[in-house]
Symmetry: C2
Subunit: 374 residues, 2 copies
């Protein structure tokens, strides 16, 4: 089945929009949040819990899975979906970001990137074509090409060089993908924090042509305003009829701002990472479960939430689980947080469809930022 | 509702039997395995998973919960059942064993036991009456009295003194329980590895009168044969019409032997502790998930098992989860193991009812010990 993206509703007061993204394993309703399952598991959660939470798609990471367990094992299992028992779409990140942040002794050449595994020190050399091949073996529904991700801040000169290489690799990835013809392939806009470089990157990727366009190299430490400005200056240069994916973002407020600027897809480790640390996202703001104030609190994390955690457990009990080092605590708060993010995006979609996104966002933020929960 | 225990079936070839134990929150079918939730959670598992696994009752520990989160918090929650969201019966261990194994600088007097918390070093003095009161606050369906548990091996003299104190405390516990009148109270037979002391302990407890009788101080490092001998010599001295509980046991083979000797109740941390370490119990024996042999094994832990783990995940994937340090691995193997133990006891009950317990046990052991899985 061919990839298809249809914008179904446009917000009148902002660039926010709803869409339907048809993939082989299901049609995504956008804007969509994608829980992150880097190593083939969304941390602490079982696939049936992701279904229950309403996850339409999850993310996995080609670099991590290539190194461990290795492609032969996933191929024997019949692909990543069967390996991890997830029957809905999977987007795989290329791992470019991980190669640049985790791997050791990397050497970047136009041909590809040489690095040592962060797990065992073994040397690998991967070309952009290899990264497409890896994702083909995984059976990704949406693939990301190898890109060169620069840190923040980066000089204009370095950002320009990384951009040029990213475009070069994007073209070669596109060619390889064209031969294999499975799933969808997105382009990744780079250019650090330079408006004109972002614009150039977008133009070059458009010229190559992808099913969707991702904004990479953001949420890497730059001030929030700067990220928002990059979205404002970049999104208008992306095709209106293609999905736009803001990689690695983010907090609820960042997501709503980005939705209003026309972003369709998000992924972030925040719900599960914060969950494992005992920080819960609620309609009344973030809440630190270990906080002594909750020792006697016999109410749920979020009385407005219908998830299994909030329907069955109190803050007092969750605090006890964290204090006692019990894994059920990590599980329940992670689950609640994933539900919260998915519910936030479901609410945003509904509001956009009904022409009341601005009010939805205002109400959410009023409650989220003004209420004091911890 | 008054406690009631009815033996419904007696095996013709052994002392094995089936019974029904009526408690306020449900009737237990015995022989029964009780998953251990020391700190108010069966490690890694949610209550709904325990329901799914078929758990009739879980264990919790009065000593641990008294120290953390503390009784005030559990009282505010409306008792332990509501605190941990478990609506079926709970048996609480007194924590005698933990005071003697975990706590620091303990002083044992006839009046009670003084100790320092293993968590914060705070001093506590608890009398047997306090232990009953604590379990009343928890809302235990079955309470255990404070006992003096000796290590293995122990001299006859020390074992005799501990026995005398255990009887003294049992009587005072019974009096306190009589006043408060909730749930059931069991007596704990001590006497180390001395037949005649075990017999004396059983006689003294019978004279006091309890709803059920537990065998304590076993599975503390003594050889397996010695434990079996203690069961053979002690069980005949316990009332046939009362439930018999072998504390802290054990491995599948120990449980089946003990069932054949007339034991009705078991608890053990083995399914979850082994599960967290990546050891699975299967119909074909124990299996170490991390074993390299399973890297490419695309079959479930136990093809004979119908649990969520075995129906949806392969050994290859579970091995990956353990290698990658992913919590889902601990969860899935713990869940499978709890299912395995509960299924083993369900099978034993069915076999006893149908008069084929010896064959059931022989078939189980043949498969369990002769098949090589890892």
């Amino acid at each position: 089945m061919a990839f298809q993206f249809t914008v179904t509703h446009n917000d009148k007061e902002s660039a926010a929009r709803c869409g339907a993204m048809r993939l082989e394993r299901g049609t995504l309703q956008t804007p969509v949040f994608m829980p992150v399952g880097t190593q083939g598991t969304v941390k602490t959660l079982a696939p049936r819990e992701l279904h229950e939470a309403g996850a339409q798609i999850v993310l996995a990471n080609a670099y991590h899975l290539f190194l461990r367990p290795g492609l032969d094992i996933i191929q024997e299992a019949g692909g990543l979906h069967r390996f991890m028992n997830w029957d809905r779409p999977i987007l795989t990140d290329s791992g470019g970001y991980q190669i640049f942040s985790l791997a050791l002794l990397r050497k970047i050449k136009d041909e590809g990137v040489e690095f040592q595994s962060h797990l065992d020190g073994n040397r690998h050399f991967l070309r952009p074509e290899d990264i497409v091949d890896i994702q083909n073996v995984l059976g990704s529904d949406i693939m990301m090409p190898l890109d060169e991700c620069v840190a923040y801040p980066t000089s204009r000169d370095l950002a320009e060089k990384a951009l040029a290489r990213t475009t070069l690799w994007a073209g070669r990835s596109r060619e390889r993908w064209q031969e294999s013809g499975r799933g969808a392939l997105f382009g990744i806009v780079q250019g650090s924090t330079y408006d004109d470089l972002r614009e150039r990157s977008a133009a070059e990727l458009k010229a190559i042509g992808f099913q969707g366009y991702a904004l990479g190299g953001l949420s890497v430490g730059e001030p929030q305003d700067l990220m928002y400005n990059m979205l404002r200056s970049t999104v208008p240069h992306l095709p209106a009829g293609s999905p736009r994916y803001l990689m690695g973002v983010g907090l609820p407020e960042d997501i709503l701002e980005a939705v209003s600027l026309g972003i369709d897809m998000f992924d972030c480790v925040v719900p599960t990472r914060y969950g494992r640390n005992g920080t819960a996202f609620t309609s009344r703001g973030k809440l630190t479960v270990r906080n002594g104030a909750f020792a006697h609190d016999q109410t749920p994390l979020d009385p407005a939430c219908g998830c299994y955690c909030c329907q069955n457990f109190t803050k007092s009990y969750l605090r006890h689980l964290f204090n006692a080092g019990e894994i059920l605590g990590l599980r329940l708060v992670s689950f609640h947080n994933v539900c919260f993010f998915l519910e936030l995006l479901a609410g945003a979609r509904q509001a956009i469809r009904e022409g009341r996104f601005a009010a939805f966002r205002r109400d959410f933020e009023k409650e989220y930022f003004c209420a004091s929960t911890s």
